[in-house]
Symmetry: C2
């Protein structure tokens, strides 16, 4: 209740680990935590809505935004561009929200450099077999799956850069763990407004 | 599930903040978290049992233990001695338990020096008025209450040394926050056994 708002939580995970579902659930559960909406040049999947799931923009617009340094981080993944708008994140922080960013390991590193107080969380698949299964379920073609799986090992090697590691073995358990990380981070002494505490306790300065 | 066990959680709070109740509840909720039983020369209160609430020992035995360096930390508080046995804490850690220590701000500092990986949590009373009320309820005499209240400000000035600060305004909320800190700490990358993760994921070393 005393924490200065505006913590950035970065979630990374090999694709197919279920991080999007996890992020959606956690944002519904914690109302003062908002997910940033990324910009992408990837065409929308069925059911995806512009301004809700992503800001869908064309490559020219994306390149312009890169040139104008409007991204906190951006990446080209499997031929598509994804980026996190600085302005959007700052807007959420100023409004007093904590911000959830769902980005890859390289992006996470950039964010940590710009916001050293941000919290990096890595989500692990319960096993490689499970990850494979989940990707097949998602109707990805086998070439894409192969590419994704080969990237998993590379991503997992980056886990040392993260503050927390959790395993999405059981979705409900993972949601609980993730919300605990968020609540615990808000209680960190470094994030607490001590003046507010003194006022609350009516402690006079000596 | 991958963390190397044996985290020491130190809880400090001005007396009357409800930390003992809080610690008891949390240890019941989290079975692999054990509260260390302190040694004291204070006479037992009604309902207190030797070996459960404290190890009640006489001053001579306590002095001997100090001489033999058998305490992780010890303090004289209002004329009575309290101490945390090194051997007892080590026994719990070796058995694979996380250990909860309910000690004062000076003791917390000593423990952090010996175990830098320990987690220090400061519990705040919701207000000074509330603290006063709780102490009166406990039937303390007004001289003791006066002494305790004058110590509160001194203790609160130490909160910067703590990793987390929480307010025991609502007991249920405080229990939830405390358990979140414990669960989140177990997910910290620095406490995770990476070899176990690799084995779990069946990742071969290149």
């Amino acid at each position: 209740m005393f924490y200065k708002r505006g913590i950035i939580f970065v979630i990374s995970a090999p694709s197919g680990t279920g991080k999007t579902t996890l992020c959606e659930i956690i944002c519904k559960q914690i109302p003062d935590l908002k997910m940033n909406i990324s910009h992408t040049t990837r065409p929308p999947r069925p059911n995806e809505i512009d301004g809700i799931n992503y800001y869908f923009i064309d490559r020219q617009k994306f390149q312009e935004m890169i040139k104008k340094n409007q991204f906190l981080e951006w990446a080209e993944v499997y031929g598509n561009f994804y980026g996190t708008s600085r302005k959007n994140v700052e807007k959420l922080l100023i409004k007093g929200y904590d911000v959830l960013l769902e980005i890859d390991t390289k992006g996470a590193k950039s964010v940590k450099q710009i916001y050293p107080e941000s919290v990096l969380i890595f989500i692990m698949p319960p096993s490689i077999e499970d990850l494979e299964k989940r990707l097949y379920k998602r109707d990805e073609d086998s070439e894409t799956i192969k590419k994704r799986l080969s990237k998993v090992q590379e991503e997992i090697s980056q886990m040392e850069n993260y503050d927390y590691i959790l395993v999405n073995d059981d979705l409900q358990e993972a949601v609980k763990q993730l919300s605990c990380i968020i609540f615990a981070e808000r209680l960190k002494t470094s994030r607490i407004d001590k003046e507010q505490i003194k006022k609350f306790l009516k402690i006079e300065e000596g």
